[in-house]
Assembly symmetry: D4
């Protein structure tokens, strides 16, 4: 039997697995929180190595110590890039979290990388960063301010789950009327 807003697969068809790359901030447990929030969904989460000290030094530990910092960093960053670039390229969605602290140029770099490959992005950031992120957000599916909203977006996208009703919610039908007519325009 067919059920609205769901996938029309026979029971023998394995459900599509979504791969979501988690870019950006590494100093809060947001990846774990999102993992928890989407644990009921067919979602594989990937991301960069988020152990800050290790990601700085792993390259030099393997290659050998280097006397100048830019080259030490180049070796480290190129090795980290093996993981991040491989995972980025095969993501169905990239979630990028920006915070108040740090430059986070690698987060913006990965957002640009994903956009150029036509991979959709969702950004998470405090509302007061909105203007500084306007170029990134203009390329995003959505800009939200919490992990929960990303989880809701994924649940709606994959399973058609209705998001929780916001406080004081008025559906668009009640505001602008039913059906397609849009009298008065914007």
């Amino acid at each position: 039997m067919w059920t609205s807003i769901r996938r029309f697969a026979s029971s023998a068809t394995p459900q599509r697995q979504w791969t979501v790359y988690l870019s950006g901030e590494i100093h809060s447990p947001w990846r774990a929180e999102l993992a928890e929030a989407v644990s009921h969904l067919p979602v594989t989460l990937t991301g960069p190595n988020d152990d800050h000290a290790l990601s700085d030094d792993a390259g030099a530990m393997i290659y050998g110590a280097v006397p100048t910092r830019p080259h030490w960093d180049s070796i480290g960053a190129r090795l980290n890039g093996l993981r991040t670039t491989t995972n980025l390229k095969e993501a169905d969605l990239v979630v990028v979290k920006f915070g108040e602290k740090y430059r986070q140029w690698n987060a913006a770099f990965e957002a640009g990388y994903a956009s150029a490959l036509n991979i959709p992005i969702i950004t998470i950031h405090p509302p007061n960063l909105s203007h500084m992120l306007k170029e990134v957000n203009a390329n995003a599916t959505m800009a939200v301010d919490s992990v929960e909203k990303v989880a809701a977006a994924l649940d709606y996208t994959i399973n058609g789950t209705e998001p929780a009703t916001p406080k004081d919610w008025t559906p668009s039908e009640d505001i602008w009327g039913k059906g397609n007519p849009n009298p008065g325009g914007k």
Copy 2:
């Protein structure tokens, strides 16, 4: 042993799974009917969220209400696009159903999107819409007027199943002769 018109796979090879995206009309149960008609085939059906009211409002429910309709709609349509675009891009075939009512610009948009990506399309529409759809149909594998014909096309394509014999059917061999010669041209 080899059998004509079938896949030459050893029994250990899993059959190719076809992914078919169902675009267009959301006010009739045609997706369920097609799902039923191809339930014996290795076909995964995907499509947009077909709950009209929810697809209008889900974006704003997650993002937050927005005072102007074009932006409300932009947030909703971009979120819906996460599902539709991801599924469209990985379809082996896009079936697009046009009906008498509504503008259905999103259906034609998705047909164009698929065509640009070299994904074959089959259109379903009442015969009297044929002239208005001539640009879409010129890019289609076939334009038919029923879900059953799409199912027959898939069964023939995947399994080599002979379609049901139409009423008053005369095979081409009986009309123009056997073999390649095509005397008299068009």
Copy 3:
């Protein structure tokens, strides 16, 4: 000498020529109006054959008359596609005009085609069609309601020309303050 917001080319460098494909409505002189409005810009305008009767019959006039309409139309539409597809693919920008009348599925088809190829689109339509076009507009750079606004967008994009000041205009700096800080968020 360097001048802000302009191209930093030596005088020996020919200016970049922008190619803009004009899709959609063929029953008003909007293409001529836009040509007039951008006549001072390095813009080449292309588009479909906009002689309605001829575009219906040119294919059959060359190929020969065909007894059934869908095939007559298929021959015509495939020939027209030689012009439209070639021009669409090499456009820097596609402008699509939707009106109140007709189904205009070919316009939406071309918008989808352009989007899949990552070619930016700008739509022109009466405000009251906004909701029906929400999927198309979600993929657009901008949705406007006049040819003049497209010309202003091109003049700003190419030459950095400041658009005409709208009536009762308040700059964003006067509304939300200067610089990047965005206190209070959305």
Copy 4:
């Protein structure tokens, strides 16, 4: 001033140059005839080396004679491929002429090559070859039986020139009525 069905370019804009690759038959003067027929159009014609004996031996003349024919031919065909493949890839249109004689597998090969690259093709062939060419023609913009019809198709495509009125011509409007309605369907 704007004129229907033409390019909306300012007089300073050079007209788009179309590149048309002429594939297939090398034993009749059809390339010269087409060159004559499109001499008033902004069309650059390219094609394979059509000196049969030279195209067989040029490779071996440069590389050195080879004792076995398949290798002699391989060296020749790979050298010819430098010209044909380079030109094929940058064509806007590929015209392929098939005749009664010879296998012409290279013509069909080039048609397939062009199709895979999304380059439109027009075939020229005697009507009685139609059935044998059905797979090629299904991928073609149009299949015609004369060089003149290719020239007419190009003139219509590039300049919007109305094709010559066929004998006993009845416009589609007179057959099926004006406007979009298509009552009765196919």
Copy 5:
């Protein structure tokens, strides 16, 4: 333990499945013979519908009969193209068999299609067709004259299996000496 010329996978890794598309001749049982010859290899064989009469008429049986042959054929060939093009595009190798009879333009078309997509091809044909096929063979990995040789090429490619020793065989080492002598080298 590692064994020369084999895949270095742990036993837990499923072996790579090769997909081979069988193009061309449909009037001999060569597909069945090849299926038999590679039945011990991880190879999935695909190909066109090889029931000649059905492949001519299936399109019209679904779409409805059409009064003119070119359009009847166009509908049929476009439907067959759904199967052939989908399978061609995802092949790791395309084997194309040419015989003495028939024009087989569709076989050459598919060979060109595969080449343009960088899919390797192997041709099978009687030696006396070699010159007519020189352009196709110049793009092929190998041109052979039997199904057994294709099977040997696959067995060598996938498993590193040594081909059967030909009659009167002399290894290259015995003819031109051992190793990579590079006199002068550094």
Copy 6:
């Protein structure tokens, strides 16, 4: 006559024009300085609109004022994107300047965008930002600290011009010996 390290073109061949996109910092005159420094080279410089106030408001001036800042910014950023993305995609090189101030997420975004498209980048930044930019620099051709060094890199790349000899310079030959041998390794 042939001259080492230069282009081997006949005098009739126009020299290759390099297109360099200048991304990042808009509050210093570095674009004008670079334009001056490369004015003798066949280089076309492009970049974003660098009038800060205008780039914030141009979108809303054309589209109409919008009551919420994120949507105001979205309209502005999408319009600016028409210029930046078109120019970015066709650049031969992207130079990105990072400074001490501001978040400059759009600069890092554009660097990521260029990298994903395989367009080489050169970064300019004060040395003390090196560690924060390690992921961007790992994808860069070179990271330098002045506009002059970018000009020197372009002059060497295009014309083979020897860079100015640095103070206390010792050529590599004098340090590690002449020729390829590299005894002792790193």
Copy 7:
């Protein structure tokens, strides 16, 4: 529960399988050694046929002996290319080992091939070949001198495993201080 530096997959998600192509040197058991060193990782190793004599003659054994060496080699190399090219194209990483002996042009060729396809490469070579390999290494993620270092790089990349602490190791934090500030630059 979420664990730092690991994949955030539910237990039901199969771990990502990495495919690593092993190019270059065929006269030492380094492929077996690497297979052993990564046997605990989800890594599939692929590579060329490494039986030197067989890889020289397999083509001619199947095709038939050829009187001239360049054609004998061409047939052999094209057949070997079926394996190498197919595997190269789908690798996530290409490891290329260069040694003191032999020209190894095929190894450098495969490194270039991979780079053009944006597939990351890691080179293994004795330190004293570093200067001769500078162009290859400039395109590599890392250049190392042992199989063990490749295994460590993979273990860090896939599982976030900390590499073995080198002798006399000082972490970067202890050298240049903690956090992002990088005073003094390079």
Copy 8:
């Protein structure tokens, strides 16, 4: 008037300019010799910086000296790559010259790079290097032993010029008969 084997362009059409990248050996004047030999052809020659000492040190001269050789070389090679990669990617043909001396891994690397991008290559090398270059040559249009033969191949390809008749030449027609004999017919 149409002339066999030539381009069918009106006199107003500028002739196609071929871009040929010259890779490999930098210690002989072969680039100058080829430039001389093709000076009558519409060919633009490009290539790497061929000043050996400068190409080793230019990067460090701009960036600043670096204490370790691999990093010194990395900076140099990445800067050189800006020129080589940009030119390689837009070549219509890559000519690669291998000599007896040096490792020339960068030449083989560039050959592989070009092949992966479907850019045809012609190799020049002494005949005795043929076996070591078999993988490179299997991907080449032709392998020759002199600059003159490259010039002859270009003259034939571009203008259809008949190559000089080799000593003791017998045309293929005199060896194997005229035409496409195909015993057994269609």
